[in-house]
Symmetry: C2
């Protein structure tokens, strides 16, 4: 029987028109339960060591699909390594600790109106934005 996390993931996949195969559900479920950034390699290794049977290429393909569908976000901190992260519902931003990489989600985004005004002044129509705040968390300070 599928866990509630898996059911939820399957629903998300169907919602964006991606067929919810078992591998895709496993990948998305893992991302939805992980607050921090993960690379494709880490994700693959983690799932394998837990006994899931799935190939590295499938992880890459799935992450690519999900990112294109806007279900997950991708961001790179270091050269040659892209991290993925579940966006959750609604629009928000993150605080990332430079030392331990802990991530805190900021519930609200107060940037909307400021951005619209300033973009309009340059002839732009904004389609999205991402804010990345780095700092030191309480433990690492």
């Amino acid at each position: 029987m599928p866990s509630s996390g898996q059911t939820q993931a399957a629903g998300v996949l169907e919602g964006v028109g991606v067929r919810p195969t078992s591998q895709r559900v496993v990948v998305l479920t893992e991302l939805m339960g992980e607050r921090n950034d993960v690379t494709a390699q880490q994700l693959h290794e983690r799932l394998r060591s837990r006994g899931e049977q799935l190939g590295l290429a499938t992880v890459y393909r799935t992450l690519g699909l999900l990112a294109e569908a806007g279900v997950i976000d991708s961001l790179s901190h270091r050269p040659g390594e892209l991290c993925y992260r579940w966006c959750g519902e609604g629009h928000h931003h993150h605080l990332v600790c430079s030392s331990c990489h802990q991530v805190v989600e900021l519930a609200e985004c107060e940037l909307g109106s400021w951005l619209e005004r300033i973009s309009e002044a340059h002839g732009f129509v904004t389609t999205g934005h991402r804010l990345e705040v780095s700092g030191l968390c309480g433990d690492c300070r």
Copy 2:
């Protein structure tokens, strides 16, 4: 005789304690004259085709140095490719057109006080932040 761009670049390098060799000056001068994102490969090819003699490894090493010194910014849009960009003076953000990749610099950053307040609430001390706004520019709309 060095152009004013080259003199300026050399000054920036000295300012952050990096020896201004001719290769580094060439790389930084190019970045300072380019408003948009560039990859190491693009930069290398562009300089080579202009007759500059410098190796790809040197471009990578220089970009790494400059990024670490905070002189340039690095950001990744796609997997396996990191882009670099001259930050200019002072703190600001960018509007990027999703279609033509044109970049507009936003002169002011009004995020400081909001961020400090919200970070403090989570026990963080912020050390920096980056805002990336994507949209469509007037021409592409």
